[in-house]
């Protein structure tokens, strides 16, 4: 493997990942030796409003996909309203391709716990919940252990570090529903209902958990808070780009030599990431990739130099999402890849709204037909027409996300579809798989 060039290596910014090399960082003693809970001590001496301002100044934007400015979100919480406030951490990581929050919670759970305490203090919440994906059992083990350790040390509970501030924190496991990563569906699930999205407005900032003011933030967002409190907004902004500040964990998977997590300054390009990851596997040439999970439109080899920040990816017609970079080669079929993603959206659609529930159901069937060599040219129009009826007409972003790979693969790889339809590519699914499907 060739060593990446120094200017590429300089894009690495180990901040959220920096403790992962310390095998015992999940224990509170080790965490404390590595700057742990220093940010909390510092934050509790500051006024909550000043912490909100600090996060605004840092330019931190949500790490869960939408990139909403975090400080702004915190600032929306009405103060002095006499209602209880809540902080809910969205740890329901499940977007295909995304795998950055699980390692963070497994190997550095106290970073999240500390962030939760500081964020809760800033928005004046006395209860916080971490809603963790049910399947993430080892991360949940470590997290529950960390929460207990934090209680035992006086970082949680009553009168935290004798500041007079109280906080209860509960780790709440989900039960296998991708839709619960949508923040209002998550809140419904946390209230003990089916996880289905809510109509907005009202927004969670005023009517969230238990119809009270609530901040819902991603794991990466909250884990970014302690380093910002310690290093300051200017230091944080020394990483990333003007409008997308800070480091970001890029998750590289697929046909590359060294897949894995690469925490880099926002705005790094795929070309640079590939260099860090040792390049494409021998015999594979980059053909298509997702910049931020399967809900973000596919990009192609021509997009190698797109800066991977919120603005850069949007300008290229896609979405930064969760920076889950799934890399496919000329040996992978974009039609089949899209079909598999659609199976996912079909399975995970919560059923609340018709466009998403029915649209995904039927699109899966059209894909099966195409992949079995029985597709028609009209099917391609049907797919685009169906996407038109889902995008912007669904209750939440799940439906919108489902259309991303369909429309983008038809845009860049229409010939692949035609090759199935016109019989130049051998069918990938057999007739048998078409019968009584699902």
């Amino acid at each position: 493997m060739t060593t990446p060039r120094p200017e590429t290596l300089a894009k690495l910014t180990p901040v959220l990942t920096k403790r992962w090399l310390s095998p015992d960082a999940w224990r509170i003693g080790t965490y404390e030796q590595l700057d742990g809970y220093a940010a909390l001590r510092k934050a509790l001496k500051a006024h909550p409003d000043d912490l909100i301002q600090l996060i605004k100044d840092s330019g931190l934007r949500g790490r869960g996909g939408a990139g909403f400015p975090t400080g702004l979100k915190w600032g929306f919480i009405p103060q002095g309203d006499g209602k209880p406030h809540y902080l809910v951490v969205n740890a329901d990581e499940g977007e295909p391709g995304t795998c950055k929050d699980l390692p963070l919670m497994t190997h550095d759970p106290h970073a999240l716990v500390e962030g939760v305490i500081i964020a809760s203090y800033a928005i004046r919440a006395s209860r916080a919940y971490i809603y963790i994906r049910g399947e993430a059992v080892h991360a949940a083990r470590r997290l529950r252990n960390a929460v207990q350790e934090a209680y035992d040390k006086g970082y949680l509970g009553r009168n935290i570090l004798r500041s007079g501030y109280d906080l209860e924190l509960v780790v709440h496991s989900g039960a296998g529903a991708y839709i619960c990563g949508e923040e209002t569906a998550l809140l419904d699930s946390l209230e003990g209902f089916r996880g289905q999205p809510r109509l907005r407005p009202p927004f969670p900032a005023t009517h969230g958990l238990y119809a009270s003011p609530t901040v819902v933030n991603n794991v990466g967002t909250i884990a970014s808070v302690p380093p910002i409190v310690l290093g300051g907004a200017d230091w944080w902004k020394s990483m990333g780009t003007e409008k997308s500040s800070g480091p970001m964990i890029y998750s590289l998977s697929g046909r590359i030599v060294n897949p894995g997590q690469f925490e880099c300054s926002m705005g790094v390009t795929l070309r640079e990431l590939l260099e860090l990851a040792g390049g494409m596997q021998p015999g594979h040439n980059l053909r298509f990739w997702t910049p931020g999970g399967s809900s973000t439109p596919l990009l192609a080899a021509e997009h190698l130099d797109v800066p991977l920040d919120f603005e850069g990816v949007a300008a290229a017609g896609s979405i930064l999402g969760t920076t889950a970079t799934q890399i496919f080669s000329d040996q992978d079929c974009p039609v089949y890849a899209t079909y598999r993603w659609l199976e996912f959206y079909h399975h995970e659609s919560c059923g609340k709204c018709t466009p998403c529930r029915e649209g995904n159901y039927w699109m899966v069937r059209v894909y099966r037909r195409i992949l079995a060599g029985q597709g028609t040219h009209e099917d391609l129009d049907t797919l685009l027409d169906t996407c038109d009826n889902i995008l912007g007409r669904s209750f939440c972003g799940l439906g919108d996300g489902a259309t991303s790979s369909v429309t983008s693969s038809l845009k860049y790889f229409k010939q692949d579809y035609l090759d199935y339809i016109e019989g130049r590519t051998a069918p990938k699914l057999s007739d048998k798989q078409l019968v009584g499907a699902h």
Partner: protein, 331 residues
């Protein structure tokens, strides 16, 4: 006699106590994990138990239980083997792993081997794409599997062995796992410490370490600016900006009292509304939509819960499972 012993009822109380007193319904998901821990699936009796302790009806509980994939609706084996067949794992060989296991075990998706050892399922993304193709046993990871290693794992399980996951803790049974999902600590010696990070997790970090890359300028003692200081800085920046136009970038990024500075103007597709607009919209939304009107939390009073718990422990279970079937809560 109910399968749900006094110990389970005590645990149910502990779970309910995690949530605000008038919001006990939040305990429903962990309670469903708890009943699954007893029976290996959410049975009609389990639905009845949850309904009783929360003061809900069985249809309300059934509606929730059937929504989530992890609540199983028929008895399961000791080990749930989930093979990721979502796109990335699929193209890297996950589909072949699943097909081979299915043939080897003679069971399909969501089916259990006759000896009651293994339930097989194909799973959607398990959030470990950098280790693909992956499979999990009771949700702990076996990374980078191929058909042969997967068959080896299930054979060992069926022979009574407990192969060690690549990442995650030593294996327990699915019922034991469900106790943890209900929010209780893993009591096994050393289980929490099991499972160090794999190489893909550490990849970027190792590169940075090998080449001495770190983020410069980090000073943990950087002061947090108070509002008074920020206001002063903003005023100075404003004066400076007026004195020297065009305004330097530094000044425009400085915090402005009561506003949200540059961050509010970020032009993205999901561009956030300006705070005042948002507040207005929210106020309008609140006026137009009576929030949470049709979702009156059931089982509000702690007294009622206590009563239900006691009554439930007094009544025998026998007839209630049939009732649950009548509600159509379980298919």
């Amino acid at each position: 006699m109910s399968v749900f012993t006094d110990e389970i009822r005590e645990r149910a109380r502990e779970i309910i106590a995690r949530y605000p007193a008038d919001r006990s319904r939040s305990a429903l998901l962990p309670l469903l994990h708890l009943v699954q821990a007893e029976e290996g699936y959410v049975s009609p009796a389990g639905v009845t138990f949850c309904a009783e302790v929360l003061g809900l009806n069985k249809a309300q509980v059934g509606a929730v239980a059937t929504f989530y994939t992890m609540y199983k609706r028929k008895p399961t084996g000791d080990f749930l083997v989930s093979v990721c067949t979502n796109t990335m794992c699929n193209v890297l060989g996950g589909q072949e792993v699943y097909d081979t296991l299915s043939e080897h075990l003679g069971v399909g998706h969501d089916e259990t081997t006759a000896d009651g050892t293994i339930t097989l399922e194909h799973a959607e993304c398990l959030a470990a794409c950098d280790y693909g193709p992956v499979m999990t046993v009771n949700y702990d990871f076996f990374d980078g599997v191929d058909a042969a290693t997967a068959v080896g794992v299930v054979d060992e399980l069926r022979a009574g062995g407990r192969p060690m996951p690549t990442r995650g803790a030593r294996l327990c049974t699915l019922k034991e796992m469900a106790v943890q999902l209900a929010g209780f600590a893993d009591e096994r010696d050393g289980a929490v410490a099991d499972g160090g990070p794999g190489e893909p997790t550490l990849r970027g970090l190792r590169l940075a370490q090998q080449h001495g890359v770190s983020v410069p300028g980090f000073d943990p003692n950087t002061p947090i600016r108070s509002k008074a200081e920020a206001d002063k800085a903003a005023a100075e920046a404003k004066a400076k900006a007026e004195a020297a136009k065009p305004a330097p970038v530094e000044a425009s990024a400085a915090p402005v009292k009561g506003g949200d500075g540059a961050s509010a103007k970020v032009p993205t597709e999901t561009s956030p509304p300006a705070p005042r607009d948002a507040q207005k919209a929210q106020a309008a939304g609140v006026a137009a939509n009576e929030p949470a009107g049709d979702r009156k939390p059931a089982g509000d009073s702690t007294g009622a819960q206590e009563r239900n718990l006691n009554e439930a422990s007094a009544s025998a279970d026998g007839a209630t499972s049939a009732d649950a079937n009548e509600t159509g809560a379980q298919k």
